[in-house]
Symmetry: C2
Subunit: 879 residues, 2 copies
């Protein structure tokens, strides 16, 4: 028979998965000789067995628990249920991964009518004994029997009022005995059963309650959010009670070995005299700062500081310690690695390295990449009073304040005039870009984490809250409504893109602090990682920002935004409306110098680093007004009897927009398909890139490294045709300008077929860049724009899918294509450079996968670059 | 040095790729001792070398040709260019695959001013000699020098007029000498060079002209249509001339050993006395039926019949023979396997088997699957006079006559009243189904070979012409225009779905004849094939038809059409509009009995065979009116001030239609995603299937074999969830009806991810059925509805893609996924049954691929079943 219950002195820190984090720690502390009350741990395997047996505690486990209980009785020289001097125990849950939301601690287990009396006699303190007893009934009734806590508090309040006292501890023993009687009656009436007088039944019920809490709602939610597996199970720790409520020389408290908020290397904590643990947690009494203990309980305080130091050195990280002082004697109940803010995580890691306690590798390994991103953005002042108007999805981190504007043109107008605006729309589309550029933040009532607004905002590092479906927007009236309140255009609101909150008025914000520790930790990481990190950037400003944040090049420079600017759109539309190749070429001639200037700006900002420029990708209809708008405009033009040429022009636009409309634009006429049908368009873009390169070289810039990327290739022949167009253009320009420059041509791998035939594709590509957004759409058959609202939300809720595949790369499916493409591509061309430029390029879990796939680099939005740098380093450390 | 020129007696029939078909045949006939004029063949390798050398005839080849020419001179005991008794030769092209459109034959090569005179003297027949000479100049000028043929005919006509004669052969030698002089002058003037007097130069130029013709336009088009590789090259046959124009005891002609039109086992052919080959081809004189030769040239005729018999036995197939009789002596110039109609192909193959000449395997191998389909449909009487109104794409074979109707409702009304109608629409959509059902044929002005109308029509075996873009339809006026003519509603037209022609009026049609030979050949094939053949059928009528055409089950029974019927749509819409699960269940309750009757009908018609039923697949908005229609209807209801409840109902429909609308419906909320979000919907369908099964069993039907197919699965978990729903329903029904029946659950593999993770998917699937339409859409990232018009047409024209991947399965990309899914699926579940039910299931090339992938069956529309049976047999024979 496998052993499933272990005394604390039988285990150690390395048995987290078997004993849970708390159990392993208690065992480790016991092993270190620290003052830990003795006890035993029921293993996680026992919990798993419990579920496998159909939620039944097996008889063999019961026997094992009672055997260990005998050992504990021997160690404490007391007997559980002894009517004279009873042993009391606490029961705590403890999974392998620290997980709030599981069952609360039960203290004082082992008290019943008889033992309570015994305890009163043994301690000569009936107030203490009956206070313990009423606490046990209260917490047991709540946690094990599921009764509401309030009804017990009501009884207590009634008695306090009657006795004319304000704190629990002021109630005398007689009153407390009355309270106990009333509590037991309450249990009988509400739970239809007695509070168990059999102390062994108490223990078994408590153990089972811990097991059950593994599947309670809060725990399940926590696991889902933190991606903790469902089948780990939890351990149960049964520990001899010590009492912080044995008078004014007793206390209980918590201590952090360093400040968990700032990371400053000084202890922080609080304690309560004459109290038990749940008094601290419940917040019924206000605890006092730990430093005050130096005066009140100086010896215990000194011992606590020394123990804290010892624990931090032993565990080599900041500790969160729970302690109790029973009649001046210190007991450590628990220690664990303390949770901390992003700032503190960096500061502590940095300090521990400089203090020689941990290595730089460990420091890097301890900072969660997501914490890093939080540090890059402004945040809501935690002390601020806020009026929350609505709650949406936290689509792009950071906080922003501005006046509400419901229209992109208005946002542009006000923004250019220097006003700070928040663009509020049902959803955004590419033709809102000019407004988004000028806005401080974006708020939409529709869309998911990967809608247009979310992606664009993240790319620009602007705060965004999307899918805020309690917000009803009336574009006509320029008003929005939420929670029964109205919001007018021009009113000031504040968005918190990290929490999804929409607040009224100007809320105080905290500026990000990217101190020297932050830079140092990141640069330690840079030395460790193999995976390169580039940024997705379309403008010189973004490119400069990306450099500042540590990007080693641009992995995706989109060229379509360049055509959206109001001075270029007419030329672009003329190109689209062209009926002949000549007309098209004439329109392209007008675009050429503008494109060239765009490219010069970006290439100059990234001199010395590669810049991967993707040729035109979106369907052409995105450059035309929407059909509905055209219909309206045309109707108005006719009503107003405008000139025939004006009406004709509008008719022509409408005709073309209709001709270009598609039932599935995602799978339509875009990407290299445009380049194949209109090679002159790609030739113009290639020419703009090469002329820009040549001019920069002539200006004396060195290492100008453009890389031309062909999008949406599905068949090697497409790339073969377009590679020829690009290379021929390069030769022409070289001839014209009389100097040589590099011409690097590669392709996106974003169509499943190109991954499947990557060996053929690689014959024409010097590099691959995975477009994992589209690759995910096509591999799953999900339209990102539609899926989230229509069924993906449901899928995630019902766990049909473990993750949102647009946020975390689907390794089993999409990942298989990535691996195939890497292997096939390198088989054909061992020197093939391979990167990824989809949304997943900034996701730490996905980055770890790309590292394992031996990609050369990831590319993400500038604000994700530090995250990716750290994630890449951690991926390398993970091996 | 590799030998590149071969005497006829050096080769044989097995050297087609080296000597070309014609050369190998001439060698083979020489080997058999048949009366073949001697000669030699310049190999296809020499042609390839010619192109590799940049269209240059290498000096070494010239030497080899002249060496063989010496051998030929020796064999004939005449010298090429001999002014006394010159050797003349013919030059013919001959590729490995018979290919019309290549260079014409050049006869009488070797004549010049001097040898013509010599020939006149040697034969004592100057008329003959100068007739040969003028023919040579004429054909050489046209074929080698590229001059138009007409100018020479004009000269000839002028002289015939002057001489007052009507046929060429009536012109005397003096006139012909004048003609020769004028011809040479014409060449000088038009080609700016002399007709070459050097006979060796004539020969080399002719050889080069044959090589060049490999890349001429007609040949290239033919290769593209017939999928012949570009790099095979052509051989050149140089053969000693014999003369069918040496007087009235000479002749030339062609003979088929069997009737190429009907297949009847009797020779058919025609001949011309005193003529050369091109007289027959050119149609300048009307040839006479071959049987008349029995009287005119009895000995030669007898010898011809015997030789024909010998050749047919030797080549074991119907032969198309060219012969010449020179002064009563028979020469065979060429024999090849004769082209034939579909009917003849079947009849001949059948007869050859019964005559013991070929095996059943060979018979099956000789019938092209596409020929079989043609036999299943009515065709246009070849003798009919027709007025072609327009030309579209031949989307679904067969011919149909009816009155033009521009609206599905009108089509339904007239059709139900017994009128024959042709539904004419810009394009069709699922809500036109009721009209399509009642129509004889479909004509659309938009769409490609795989548009909705095309697929539906092929599925129903109805003729369809689609993408007829010269047809302009004015739905408002109920008129259409094409080629400047108008077509009104109610006018009679005839469609030919095999050619894409639209004709005015009632054109006589020929009924299909599926005679005993046809059935016999197909059943021989059935015994050979390993691959099963099922049909896609949604109605009992289709199921019965499928059985008649040899289907061994239904591979795809769609359930969505069942909801489109006008008596069911309201219940379906109520289900969609339901706000709660209860409302939805109530609506489903109404649909249940109707669904059950549908399934009973189909399962009864297919008793003894499996019926794979796909649960609801299309997006729900397909069951609602289109948004534009709703907007119009709502506006009208408001204008007309209809009752509030009516307006409300319309508003509700519009709201829901808007909520269900998607930017990419192809990748949207459909298939099993519906089943996951609304499990009660799939449960209702499963219940209808199982109740139908139980009732049929109770009625005494045996072997009712429904198989439930879950569409659009992309993740194993989806199938796991829905398998559970279906199996639980089966258990419920078994309990209720008190009897057992099979419950088989499987899935479509149509999302790339399900192919990539087929090992996991197979854990929950008893069968896979590849949905290659969607799989192709997602693997290529092509929206079938958009791609054809927007870029696919261009891709095929420019050869960016070798084939339309929606017609012929893309083996390199999509096929790779198919192979992966087969391997992974069978690894998990060796008993996994695997089929395919996309459009490719009826395409012979794709069927061969599926055979090689070791699929268990293909499923296609009923009318493709015989095609698939034959293709499957041929795939097996191909090994």
């Amino acid at each position: 028979m496998r052993k499933r219950v272990f005394m604390f002195n039988e285990g150690g820190a390395d048995q987290r998965s078997l004993l849970g984090g708390k159990g392993a720690n208690l065992a480790e502390m016991t092993r270190l000789g620290l003052p830990v009350p003795p006890g035993f741990t029921v293993s996680t395997e026992a919990c798993i067995d419990y579920y496998e047996a159909g939620r039944e505690v097996e008889e063999t486990l019961v026997e094992e628990i009672f055997t260990r209980l005998s050992d504990l009785e021997a160690a404490m020289d007391r007997r559980f249920g002894d009517p004279k001097e009873p042993l009391l125990v606490s029961v705590r849950s403890g999974a392998a991964v620290s997980m709030p939301g599981m069952m609360d601690t039960i203290l004082n287990l082992g008290l019943n009518d008889e033992t309570a009396k015994g305890l009163a006699e043994a301690t000569q303190d009936p107030r203490f004994a009956y206070d313990c007893y009423r606490r046990l009934i209260q917490i047991f009734a709540n946690v094990v029997m599921g009764l509401p806590i309030g009804v017990f508090e009501d009884v207590l309040d009634k008695h306090k009022e009657k006795a004319g006292v304000s704190v629990d501890s002021a109630l005398g023993p007689d009153v407390l005995m009355e309270v106990v009687a009333e509590f037991k009656e309450l249990v009988r009436r509400l739970a239809k059963r007695e509070f168990p007088q059999d102390v062994r039944e108490q223990l078994l019920l408590a153990v089972e309650a811990v097991f059950s809490s593994w599947y309670n709602n809060r725990a399940a939610v926590y696991r889902r959010i933190h991606r903790i597996a469902e089948d780990l199970g939890t351990a149960v720790n049964v520990q001899a009670m010590v009492f912080g409520n044995m008078g004014n020389d007793s206390a209980t408290g918590v201590l952090f070995t360093r400040d968990p908020s700032s990371g400053v290397a000084a202890v922080l904590g609080e304690y309560l005299v004459n109290a038990q643990g749940e008094d601290v947690v419940a917040g019924l009494r206000t605890p006092r700062p730990i430093v005050e203990m130096a005066d009140e309980l100086p010896e215990a305080y000194q011992q606590l500081l020394e123990t804290a130091q010892e624990l931090e050195h032993h565990y080599r990280d900041m500790q969160d310690i729970e302690f109790t002082i029973e009649r001046r004697k210190l007991f450590i109940l628990q220690t664990r690695t303390g949770k901390r803010t992003a700032q503190a995580a960096v500061r502590i890691a940095y300090d521990l390295v400089t203090e020689g306690i941990i290595s730089a590798e460990e420091a890097v390994g301890r900072i969660e990449p997501e914490q890093v991103e939080k540090m890059l953005h402004r945040t809501i002042d935690p002390g601020a009073e806020v009026e929350v108007l609505a709650q949406g999805l936290p689509a792009s981190p950071g906080a922003a304040t501005g006046v509400v504007v419901f229209d992109a043109n208005e946002a542009e107008r006000r923004g250019e005039a220097g006003e700070k605006v928040i663009l509020v729309r049902p959803e955004t589309a590419p033709d809102d870009m000019h407004g988004i550029v000028q806005a401080q933040g974006i708020l939409t009532s529709r869309g998911g984490m990967t809608c247009h607004a979310a992606i664009v905002a993240r790319g620009m590092g602007k705060p965004a809250v999307v899918g805020c479906d309690e917000l009803r927007i009336d574009l006509g009236k320029k008003q929005a409504y939420a929670r029964g309140k109205r919001l007018d255009e021009g009113e000031v609101i504040t968005l918190d893109g990290a929490s999804g909150k929409v607040m009224r008025g100007q809320v105080p914000l905290v500026e990000p602090d990217l101190g020297g520790e932050f830079q140092q930790v990141l640069s330690w990481g840079d030395q460790m990682r193999r995976l390169g990190v580039r940024a997705n950037a379309d403008t010189p400003a973004d490119a400069a920002l990306a450099r500042k944040l540590g990007a080693e090049g641009i992995g995706l420079c989109r060229t379509e935004h360049m055509f959206m600017a109001s001075d270029r759109l007419p030329a672009m539309q003329a190109m689209i409306l062209a009926e002949t190749e000549e007309e098209r070429k004439a329109a392209l001639e007008r675009l050429l110098p503008m494109q060239k200037e765009d490219f010069k700006g970006i290439l100059r900002a990234m001199a010395g680093y590669p810049v991967t420029i993707r040729l035109l990708d979106p369907p052409l209809h995105e450059f035309l007004p929407r059909i509905e708008e055209l219909v309206v405009a045309l109707g108005r033009a006719r009503d107003d009897d405008l000139g025939a040429s004006d009406i004709e022009e509008k008719e022509e636009l409408l005709r073309k927009a209709r001709a270009l409309s598609e039932s599935n634009p995602m799978l339509g006429f875009r990407g290299c398909r445009l380049g194949i049908v209109y090679p002159e368009m790609y030739a113009m873009q290639a020419r703009a890139i090469f002329e820009a390169t040549a001019e920069l070289i002539k200006e004396g810039q060195e290492d100008i490294m453009p890389e031309i990327m062909i999008p949406l290739v599905g068949h090697a022949k497409e790339l073969a045709v377009l590679e020829k167009v690009v290379r021929a253009t390069a030769e022409e320009v070289k001839e014209e300008v009389g100097l040589d420059f590099p011409c690097v041509v590669g392709t996106m791998i974003e169509v499943p077929r190109s991954a499947l035939t990557a060996d053929e594709v690689a014959e024409h590509a010097e590099f691959f860049s995975f477009g994992t957004n589209d690759l995910t759409q096509m591999t799953f058959g999900y339209s990102r724009d539609d899926a989230e609202a229509k069924f993906l939300h449901h899928y995630l809720q019902e766990k049909v899918l473990p993750e949102n595949p647009f946020a975390v790369l689907d390794e089993d499916g999409v990942g298989k294509l990535v691996k195939m493409a890497v292997n096939l591509g390198r088989k054909t061309r061992p020197s093939l450079k391979i990167g990824i430029c989809g949304e997943h390029g900034g996701d730490p879990a996905s980055i770890a996968f790309f590292h394992r796939c031996e990609l050369d680099y990831v590319s993400c939005s500038p604000y994700r670059v530090p995250v990716a740098r750290l994630a890449a380093a951690r991926a390398q450390l993970a091996g």
